[in-house]
Amino acid sequence: MTAVACEPRPHGCRDVPVLKERGQHEVFCGLTGIIWLHRKMQDAFFLVVGSRTCAHLLQSAAGVMIFAEPRFATAILEETDLAGLADAQTELDRVVGELLERRPDIRQLFLVGSCPSEVIKLDLQRAAERLSDLYAPNVRILNFSGSGIETTFTQGEDACLASMVSVLPETRTRNLLLVGALPDVVEEQAVSLLSALGIGPIRVLPASRTTFESGVGENTLFALTQPFLGDTHAALERRKARHIPAPFPFGEEGTTAWLRAIADAFDIDDETFERVTRAPRTRACKAVAQAAEVLRNKSIFFFPDSQLEIPLARFVTRECGMRVAEVGTPFLHKGVVGPDMALIEGCPVFSEGQDVDRQLDRCRAARPDLVVCGLGLANPLEAEGFTTKWAIELVFTPIHFYEQAGDLAGLFSRPLRRFQSLNLMAAE
């Protein structure tokens, strides 16, 4: 099929049974997505309607990223709102008014639901519609849920993008829509590769500004750049857009397969494909090979976090020569990650959901060389002698496409290299 291949690869496994867990989860809620979404959408503001906990989560997850007044805030529900002394809808109008007056640069406002707002059944959809009437056409007001009772971590982005799909204008133009918030540098790489293949017009969701948004319709083809966009996928299909299923563009193989699927959908010939991709593929293979040196034959264990786990398991087994002990994911959406699952080497345990203490037991029994987990678990596991990689870094760092393939492998290899280079015991 291809002239450039890093090395011959055996077949993966498919349709293995999935271990379903329903115990204590150790994951963020969907509000966390706001941290990267508000940077990506430069004319958007995210107003969480929630509690002090929600505000505290956002600031803890944002961590050191506090250097400017952010384009997000929390409308904290107070005793009076709960006791029905103040009408929550009226209060919301007041808060939104305050906010928009202070930020005249805002063009789209997201009202973001939280656990408390959902438990008290505060109707944010109604609020968004009412406020839209009030502030149109200057400001578009949408709502989605980032609550912990409905969403897990990256699902917040999914809910947000899905809410935007319904307001995209109708178009009959044949176009390609790339779906998923990516760092600008990565997004530009994708667009330029696809343009070089002769594919266009290309639009992205979310766009950096509402003015750059595209239309959608039956002639729209869309490709997901992130595996956690199940609802957005469904919303786009409701708008008659057609999905191009593919493995996700991580590593040389993933990127090639992803581009190939899109190229096929746009009838791009093999010769063009070969010409455009050859150089970056060769570069990617080389970069991965270098970084993957220390990864070969090492084992890895993924705790569920971002839903990137399955595509990444595919990458580390096929391109870095690792063995996967367990790959946990908060949700397993076969329609989205099926192509990646089919390629994974060596049939690991697939687990969906979580019972954190039992999963920790399994992890200890498996004694993997590297554990990919959330921030709450990383240091405690390090203290037990494991080497860990924070899952959140995989969400915040540019890891997609050819030019980042080496960096992606590097994210996994750095903790192992560090472990090998430190010689702390001798000093004691």
């Binding site: 115990g23 204590q24 989860h25 150790e26 994951v27 963020f28 809620c29 969907g30 509000l31 966390t32 509690s51 002090r52 906990t53 505000a55 505290h56 989560l57 600031q59 803890s60 997850a61 050191v64 506090i66 250097f67 400017a68 007044e69 805030a73 929390t74 409308a75 904290i76 529900l77 107070e78 005793e79 709102d81 709960l82 103040a86 929550a88 209060e91 919301l92 007041r94 808060v95 305050e98 202070r102 930020r103 656990c115 408390p116 959902e118 438990v119 008290i120 609550s147 912990g148 009772i149 409905e150 203490d357 959330g374 921030l375 709450g376 678990l377 990383a378 240091n379 405690p380 390090e382």
Partner: protein, 510 residues
């Protein structure tokens, strides 16, 4: 509904987590949705704890609502007990669980667990983190502490240190050593380091030393009432307060005051001529009530600063902070609204901020140096080296920490003298901070597109005046700019030239 950008305190259950995580052999079962588990990372990442906090979250989901969230809680409680075998359990609800009213306390009590179960009522929509810690510790003490025989030697309990506390780890060591010099032993340190069994024997101490009233006052009051144990009111932060603390302790022990000051450097460092440049520096102090008041006293009496503003974010300390501000004759600010603090700092234009991590960001944006004196904390507030705030070493640490963000005495004069020298550009900031501060200062000085503030000033600076302004050292330039603009505005001027600049300077001369 209150619009909030950043919060100084987390919700009350985070306070309870700080108590539970500081203790040993205690487990907290918290009825909460999955996202609330973010709180674990405060401990494992910010404080670099090597163990998970002893907290089981029930992580109920939308589909559980109305059907079996109560059962979920029961199972979580049972599993947590079986797995961790704690000496006692605390149980409670986070903000969301408070709304579904499952009554975790009631459920846990009926389960017949073989250890004490302590229910917590922490009203999430009214109170905050410090209240949560104080209340949790109080409930634990109330349930577990028993009247016991006093220790033969004079001992005290050190009360208040928690996980994620600002320098609590090192304050414990410093105060323990200071008390040892007075012949006073430590019976129990709690909550941090204590197990439920240790809590049971709190009454063996002769009196209590309250290190952090924010988290231990209710428990200390209760023991005063129930066990007739007095507790100390002075918090030994700063030279003066440490002397006062020693006096307070000896009035309770009947011993002789003694304080080994051979390692104390603050007074001499403050007297030495290089510190002349500290005289009358205008400082703004903000933090939790206890740390803010301690800092204000040090600032005035031990550093020779001029305190222009004092405030705290925990309303529980509002009264004491207000009265101290009256004594100091400065502005007072009781608020947990970050934007209000920012506005206040902007209008007071201090030369140094003594605040929290939040004020550090304000300082960065406004180009004002800042030293951190209080929680909320950041990973930087857990240094590897020993750096207490209390006692003798605490005073030394404070001197260094506060002076560090400033330009050193002689350096300040040199900068003024050679400000035209391009290699000696004052934009570089204090020489001991390296080049990082240069770019940082640039980005701070001019608020970028991110700024929310609508620009109200339409006064134009003439190029010559602008150039003259650049000659003023950067650390007062912002203030000079604002003062000149206010001066011009008041006189209805639409342009500022060199004369306006110097007239304003004369007008504001102090």
């Amino acid at each position: 509904m209150k619009l909030t950008v950043w919060t100084y305190e987390g919700p009350p259950h985070v306070g309870a987590m700080r108590v539970a995580t500081g203790m040993t052999d205690l487990h907290y079962v918290l009825h909460a949705p999955q996202g609330d588990t973010y709180a674990d990372l405060l401990f494992t990442m910010i404080e670099r704890r090597d163990r998970r906090p002893p907290v089981t979250f029930t992580t109920f989901q939308a589909r559980d609502l109305g059907s079996d969230t109560a059962n979920l809680f029961k199972t979580a409680c049972r599993d947590a007990y079986d797995r961790f075998r704690p000496q006692a359990l605390i149980v409670g609800a986070s903000c969301t669980a408070e709304l579904i009213q499952d009554d975790p306390g009631g459920i846990a009590e009926t389960m017949g667990l073989p250890v004490p179960v302590i229910p917590l009522e922490l009203p999430s929509y009214q109170r905050k983190e410090n209240f949560g810690a104080d209340e949790t510790f109080y409930q634990i003490v109330r349930t577990l502490a028993r009247p016991v025989r006093k220790t033969p030697h004079v001992t005290v309990n050190l009360l208040g240190p928690t996980a994620l506390g600002f320098r609590h780890r090192d304050d414990i060591l410093e105060v323990t050593a200071l008390l040892a010099d007075l012949g006073v032993g430590v019976n129990v340190v709690a909550p941090m380091t204590a197990s439920p069994a240790d809590i049971a024997r709190l009454g063996a101490a002769h009196f209590n030393v309250v290190l952090y009233p924010e988290t231990a006052e209710s428990a200390a009051r209760w023991m005063e009432r129930e066990f007739q144990m007095p507790y100390t009111k002075v918090v030994p932060i700063g030279v003066g307060a440490t002397h006062d603390f020693v006096k307070e302790v000896v009035t309770l022990t009947g011993g002789k005051p003694s304080l080994d000051v051979s390692r104390l450097h603050l007074p001499w460092y403050s007297r030495s001529v290089d510190s002349n440049y500290l005289t009358g520096k205008r400082v703004f102090v903000f933090g939790d009530g206890t740390h803010a008041m301690a800092a204000a006293r040090i600032a005035r009496d031990e550093m020779g600063f001029d305190v222009v503003g004092l405030g705290c974010y925990n309303r529980e300390r509002a009264r004491a902070v207000r009265s101290m501000a009256r004594d100091l004759g400065c502005d007072v600010l009781i608020t947990d609204d970050y934007l209000e603090v920012e506005r206040s700092i902007e209008s007071l234009a201090p030369e140094l901020i003594l605040g929290t991590q939040m004020e550090r960001h304000i300082g960065k944006r406004l180009g004002i140096p800042c030293a951190v004196i209080s929680a909320p904390v950041h990973v930087q507030d857990f240094p590897a080296r020993y750096s207490p705030q209390m006692g003798i070493e605490g005073a030394n640490v404070i001197f260094d920490t506060w002076v560090h963000p400033l330009v050193m005495g002689l350096e300040e004069h040199l900068l003024t003298m050679f400000r035209e020298d391009f290699e000696f550009c004052d934009e570089a900031g204090p020489s001991h901070h390296g080049v990082v501060s240069a770019s940082r200062r640039e980005s701070c000085a001019e608020p970028g597109v991110e700024s929310m503030r609508p620009s109200t000033i339409e006064i134009v600076w003439r190029p010559a005046a602008e150039k003259e302004l650049r000659k003023i050292p950067f650390f007062v330039r912002g203030k000079a700019r604002r003062n000149t603009e206010i001066f011009a505005g008041e006189r209805g001027l639409s342009e500022i030239d060199i004369d306006t600049l110097y007239e304003a300077k004369a007008h504001y001369a102090r």
